[in-house]
């Protein structure tokens, strides 16, 4: 049951092969068995999950809530879940029980899905390896000495190890796509504004976006359908009609033009990944698409631009963690300054502190123009690169990450090398456009991701291309042997 797709599980529930309760208990048992190794979950919601599953089974007799009714999933611990600890993998929020549900948690519950638990992540989503978590690193099910990627590392590892059939993630600079690539999943970062951010703990507000992490493009379409839509509680969410993502999955790719940015195949990309990605591109040609080399001339500026804007926003988003109203508070504060200093010193990890410092510096009087304002200008140039490119091509394709999964501890003390892990994903967040990572093969038993990038709100087009690719390949069906 644990290697089935959402579509297969939906069919199984429909045909009475198993009940939601059986399915849920199966996953809970697997979590019990494997989570000590993988550390994918911070909180397992056993009781609630069984109650939700029973409710789904009862509902089914009178017509189900949606195609996903009764199917379990896991939420990244960045989404507020009412009555359940929502930690953002930080000591700061270790004792925080959210009093409300994030909009996407609510929407997914309305669709009838069962929440198995809250998944591990990099602290406040800051990291590319899931090593900055207060709850310890997540291990990659494909090689437990390696990282699963980050920041949605727990969400990726949970699905890859068969501890959940699907999960939610968030992506600020690659946090859905990179772990999806490293764990052999389909991970979608939707267009900024498509999915509500209400109740999703903010890292960098102008870049954060929630999305589905699944085994297949078809599942991605199903879960995105449940997550997407305008939310009056999020001023940056957009009012627009949501298409039926399932309806266009099988459309032909004949005549599509796929842009291949030369900058994505330059220095920094490992040769094995380059080969796998080129092989995958050839498959699209077989399906009638044309490849066209393009240029995104400002690509090399995305990392510096991102590492000004994201920390700047984060530095103020994280000011609310002050020990006054909720979360960690230091023992016996002597005065106000002591309360703030020790609470934040104790509550935040090194990477979070590093980014708060960088962001505070970038916004300081006298530096604002040189850093933040300039970064915003570069951000517009990066967006403009994509606008120009999409005048000639329908989709842009390339690697998701420059390397396969690396060893735990290998890069954690070298932030600059770590930041390069996101060199192909960050520009997509800066431009606000959708990006999708799909499995494209294995290198030394480690998964490789192919990234597809689309125009604003063209998720359906990306899912269609990915689905056609998955019909012709079986990379996405590979699972790690240790968790069979």
């Amino acid at each position: 049951m644990h290697s089935k797709t959402l579509r297969e599980l939906a069919d199984g529930l429909d045909s009475g092969q198993f009940s939601s309760e059986e399915l849920t208990r199966h996953f809970l048992a697997r979590i019990n068995e494997h989570n000590p190794t993988v550390n994918a979950y911070i909180t397992v919601m056993e009781e609630q999950a069984i109650a939700q599953a029973k409710a789904a089974d009862a509902r089914r007799a009178n017509g189900k809530a949606s195609v996903l009714d009764g199917i379990p999933l896991a939420h990244k611990d960045i989404f507020c879940t009412e009555g359940v600890r929502t930690s953002c993998a930080s000591k700061m929020l270790d004792n925080f029980i959210a009093p409300y549900n994030a909009t996407i948690v609510e929407k997914i519950a309305t669709a009838g899905m069962v929440t198995l638990g809250k998944t591990n992540m990099d602290e406040f989503a800051m990291g590319s390896s899931n090593e900055t978590s207060w709850y310890g690193p997540v291990r990659n099910p494909w090689n437990t000495d390696c990282v699963p990627g980050g920041s949605s590392g727990g969400s990726a590892a949970a699905v890859a190890a068969g501890l959940a059939p699907a999960s939610t993630g968030t992506d600020t600079g690659g946090s859905i796509r990179q772990p999806a690539a490293l764990c052999n999943l389909t991970g979608l970062k939707p267009t900024y504004g498509l999915v509500s951010r209400y109740g999703m703990i903010a890292f960098a507000s102008s870049l954060d976006q929630a999305g589905p992490m699944t085994r297949t493009a078809e599942d991605s379409a199903l879960l995105l359908q449940a997550m997407a839509g305008f939310d009056e509680k999020d001023s940056t969410s957009l009012k627009r009609d949501i298409p039926d993502y399932n309806a266009t999955l099988n459309d032909s790719l004949e005549g599509k033009v796929i842009g291949v940015p030369k900058e994505f195949f330059a220095e920094g990309l490992s040769d094995e990944i380059a080969t796998k990605v080129r092989d995958a591109l050839a498959e699209f040609e077989k399906q009638g698409a044309t490849l066209k080399e393009i240029s995104l001339p400002h690509s090399h500026l995305s990392i510096p631009c991102y590492y000004v804007i994201a920390p700047a926003e984060a530095s103020t988003n994280l000011s609310r963690y002050d020990g006054v109203r909720y979360g960690h508070r230091c023992e016996n504060p002597q005065d106000l300054a002591d309360l703030y200093t020790r609470t934040r010193e104790e509550g935040f990890g090194d990477e979070v502190k590093r980014r708060i410092l960088v962001g505070t510096y970038a916004l300081s009087a006298g530096f604002y123009d040189a850093y933040y304002r300039k970064a915003q200008r570069i951000r517009r140039l990066i967006k403009q690169d994509f606008i120009e490119a999409f005048k000639e091509v329908d989709i842009i394709a390339g690697p998701t990450s420059p390397n396969p999964a690396f060893g735990i501890g290998e890069k954690v003390n070298d932030p600059l090398t770590m930041y390069l892990e996101d060199m192909y994903t960050i520009a997509v967040n800066l431009a606000g456009i959708p990006g999708l990572s799909i499995p494209a093969g294995l290198v030394d038993g480690k998964p490789v991701g192919l990234q597809l990038i689309g125009k604003d709100f063209c998720e359906a087009e990306l899912l269609n291309a990915a689905h056609r690719f998955q019909l012709a390949t079986d990379w996405h069906q590979q699972t790690p042997a240790a968790f069979a």
Binding site: F79, C80, T86, C88, L93, F96, A98, P99, Y100, A102, R197, Y198, G199, M200, I201, A202, A204, S205, S206, E232, K233, D234, S235, T236, A312, E313, T316, L318, S319, R320, D322, V324, R325, Y326, L336, Y340, T360, L363, S364, A365, Y368, Y372
Partner: protein, 481 residues
């Protein structure tokens, strides 16, 4: 050496919207601590702001009332600083693109002259909560009910030259926002408060001196005192050969003392930047036009109309239009009384004088406009004299009757105008005072006038003040020859 004080004010006005500027929580004053703070106001993780359109409309109305440009795409920014009553660790405010651009208003000086004060801009922002320092045994309490209450901050140019001008400016702002109905203007509840930037310079020079900012002044009297005190302090320092430090100061109203709070060096770097959770506020011309059409008659226009329509002096019209409630009350009295000048007199002298003496707000007046109008009518139709009218007013003030007529009836205060009865009374007084009658008859014209007052007084006394004085005079003149 003659010194000149230069003053600029930053006025904070709480907007009387139903809900907060970025959340749906109520803005009502006086609830139990923290009962009017929702997840957004508490800055719970994951919460996001949604702009209250009513607050935007209020700011636009204010901008139109002070002749300002409305910014068509204003931007909210985060003003970053740590304080326990600031839940997010930043205040959502406006900096580079405030909703109200440069404007102006006119104030009236003691001399009767009009002076124009320029407004630099006005912006929308959220209020912070309150720190409570009593009764927490060495700790502080935080009440977040006020957190997120919408404010407009109105920043003037340094155009005022005395504490009196500053008060006149503030009173004008107060009257504009209450006329517009965008704020209750209640200073005792903090709905209107201001920071005063004060500097001094030698009269005749152009360059501005180093200024200090005195924070959080919340009554007209304190503002006047605080500015006078600070200007004098600066003059004393400069005359002693010292120099002024740019600093933030506090005014202690109990001791009438100012003291330094923090210097420029200790000032926060607020690290303003555009709030990524809120889109720029796009304002259509059609909305501006629509709001313009709904603006009420504003104080200046009303004052002019009161002069031309009711024949009032500029001074009287100014007093009667200083608050919308007073102006509306006056107009209702004038209409009911049928005599605007008499109405103006009664409202300003009797009513406002009494309210002032008893320290009662105008809105709490125990005498309604209908009651006062009815009273004036009875003066006009000679049912009662002006003197008796004051008794009736007193009775109405004390709630001793629903209307002037009811009081007059119940107390039998109707003026005696029955000539038969009056004549009997006059005859009696003359019969009782034969000596005075003799003296009167012997006196010349000049003395007679004075002596007549004696008889009138006796008759008024006999009639308990109810005799019609005109008729008494007539009768006496006839009888005494």
């Amino acid at each position: 050496m003659e010194w000149e004080t230069v003053i600029g004010l930053e006025v904070h006005v709480q907007l009387s919207t139903q809900s907060k500027i970025f959340s749906g929580a109520s803005t009502a004053f006086g609830a139990e601590p923290n009962t009017q703070a929702c997840a957004v106001d508490l800055a719970l993780p994951g919460t996001l702001p949604v702009l209250n359109e009513e607050a935007v409309k209020s700011a636009i109305k204010f901008g139109l009332a002070v002749n300002a440009e409305i910014c068509r795409e204003s931007v909210f920014e985060r003003k970053n600083y740590f304080y326990p009553d600031l839940p997010k660790g930043y205040q959502t405010s406006q900096m580079d693109a405030p909703i109200v651009g440069p404007g102006w208003l006119d104030i009236q000086l003691e001399s009767g002259e009009t002076k124009r004060i320029r407004i630099h801009h006005a912006h929308l922002e959220e209020d912070a909560g309150k720190s409570l320092h009593e009764d927490f045994h060495g700790m502080s309490g935080i009440d977040l009910n006020r957190a997120g209450t919408p404010l407009i901050e109105i920043v003037s140019e340094p155009d005022m030259r005395s504490a009196e001008e500053a008060v006149a400016y503030l009173k004008k702002i107060h009257s504009i926002v209450t006329y517009l109905g965008i704020s209750d203007g209640d200073m005792s509840q903090g709905s209107l408060r201001c920071d005063a930037n004060v500097s001094v310079r030698i009269k005749g020079t152009d360059e501005l001196g180093t200024r200090t900012e005195t924070k959080n002044l919340n009554s007209f009297r304190f503002i006047e005192k605080a500015i006078q005190l600070e200007a004098q302090r600066q003059i004393d320092v400069l005359e002693d050969g010292g120099s002024i430090t740019q600093e933030t100061r506090l005014y202690d109203s109990e001791r009438n003392e100012g003291r330094a709070m923090r210097s420029k060096e200790e000032a926060n770097d607020y690290r303003y930047f555009p709030c990524p959770d809120l889109l720029p506020v796009a304002i259509e011309q059609s909305l501006i036009d629509e709001l313009k059409a709904t603006l009420p008659e504003l104080p200046d226009a009303k004052q002019e109309r009161f002069q031309s329509e009711y024949g009032l002096s500029a001074y009287d019209a100014g007093i009667l239009t200083s608050e919308r409630a007073i102006a509306d009350y006056f107009e209702a009295v004038a209409k009911a009384a049928g005599d605007a000048k008499l109405a103006a007199n009664w409202v300003m002298v009797e009513l406002m004088g009494r309210l002032n003496k008893e320290g009662i707000e105008f809105s709490e007046t125990p005498v309604s406009a209908e009651q006062l109008g009815g009273l004036i009518q009875r003066i006009r139709d000679n049912t009662i004299s002006g003197k008796i009218a004051k008794q009736v007013f007193e009775a109405l003030w004390n709630g001793e009757g629903d209307s002037a007529d009811a009081v007059i009836e119940a107390k039998g205060l109707k003026q005696m105008s029955d000539s038969g009865e009056l004549e009997k009374m006059v005859d009696q007084v003359l019969a009782d005072n034969p000596d005075q009658v003799e003296q009167y008859k012997a006196a010349d014209e000049g003395k007679r006038k004075k002596m007549l007052g004696f008889f009138v007084g006796q008759i008024m006394k006999a009639s308990k003040g109810q005799a019609n004085p005109g008729m008494v005079n007539q009768l006496l003149n006839k009888k005494l020859g």
